[in-house]
């Protein structure tokens, strides 16, 4: 009986340890496969943060957000597309870095989704306006 309990405890410890190790080594979910919690235009989400940063932070941070609007700038690193800025206003920007580099992107209207990490912009800054940041983004269309 004692031996069986001991085997059960050891088995549980191995399984538990295995799950723990797996969880600690796990990468991030693929944003492309996650359904967005919100879908709105780049101008609208920046405006929400400018109007009430605390409320917009509580609503959007850590959520997958789908954002549409005109490409302001395609950001490249080492020859690959690493991110995109979406806006029709140079000082009200959605700045998204991609989880995997899209092979190609064109200027014009696009839709992306990404995990919202917050907002940079305050009245004391030398830079006017504000930037909503998305990480692990994916191109929707």
């Amino acid at each position: 009986m004692m031996k069986k309990i001991l085997i059960a405890v050891v088995a549980l410890a191995i399984v538990g340890g295995g799950i723990g190790f797996y969880m600690s080594q796990k990468g991030h979910d693929e944003t492309a496969d996650v359904e967005a919690a919100f879908s709105l235009s780049a101008d609208a989400i920046v405006q929400e943060f400018l109007d009430d940063e605390a409320a917009a932070s509580a609503k959007y941070i850590d959520q997958v957000i789908e954002v549409s609007g005109p490409v302001f700038e395609i950001v490249k690193a080492d020859g690959h597309i690493s991110g995109v800025k979406i806006s029709s206003d140079e000082f009200a920007i959605v700045n998204c870095t991609f989880q995997s580099s899209p092979e190609a992107m064109t200027e014009g209207e696009i839709k992306i989704k990404g995990v919202c990490s917050g907002f940079i912009g305050d009245s004391e800054s030398m830079l006017p306006g504000g930037t909503v940041e998305l990480k692990r983004g994916a191109l929707v269309k």
Partner: protein
């Protein structure tokens, strides 16, 4: 002829304003690296906002803590929730100026010292950060490498993971700034 003179003067003023204006980037890179015999940990933020005022040498860096990306999901979660408490302290900033800044003196890579206030985890400290600066055409390139001690910013590392995180973290900063026209 008078109109031409007015135009020339206007362009001159605009040009002077442009050449001594502000420069900025929203794509600055900050990386931190912790190395211990047990584990190396690194995270990157490629969306750092940086502004430099060419007239005064004032400089600002703003980084969202949640924009630091780790390879492992759980590590990123622990970093935000347990150590940096990013819900309460969402940003890290540096506001200060380049010591002995001289407009037009950075045609080649020059060693500089940034002096100002670093705010991390709700704690503000006066710091001096060494770095380099250069200007090519209409682009400033700022870079720096320095060490940060989490204790200085009241970032508590639990004993259970103390062995995995270095006492001092190496921070690397790199940003290319273009002219701000507004």
């Amino acid at each position: 002829m008078k109109q031409f003179s007015i135009l020339a003067v206007t362009l001159l003023i605009a040009g002077a304003g442009f050449s001594q204006g502000k420069y900025f980037s929203r794509d600055g890179h900050i990386k931190f690296f912790s190395s211990t015999p047990i584990e190396d940990i690194e995270a990157d933020n490629h969306k750092v906002t940086v502004v430099l005022d060419e007239a005064t040498g004032k400089v600002e860096f703003s980084a969202l803590i949640k924009s630091f990306e780790f390879e492992k999901a759980l590590m990123e979660e622990h970093f935000n929730e347990n150590y940096m408490e990013s819900q309460t302290y969402p940003k890290a900033t540096f506001k200060g100026s380049i010591k002995d800044f001289k407009t037009g003196a950075y045609g080649s890579e020059t060693k500089v010292m940034a002096v100002g206030t670093m705010s991390i985890h709700g704690v503000s400290k006066e710091v001096e950060i060494p770095g380099t600066m250069s200007k090519t055409g209409e682009e400033y390139h700022l870079s720096s490498k320095f060490m940060v001690n989490p204790d200085d910013y009241k970032i508590e590392i639990p004993n259970t993971v103390r062995e995995k995180i270095a006492k001092e973290l190496e921070v690397t900063v790199d940003a290319k700034l273009g002219p701000l026209t507004k």
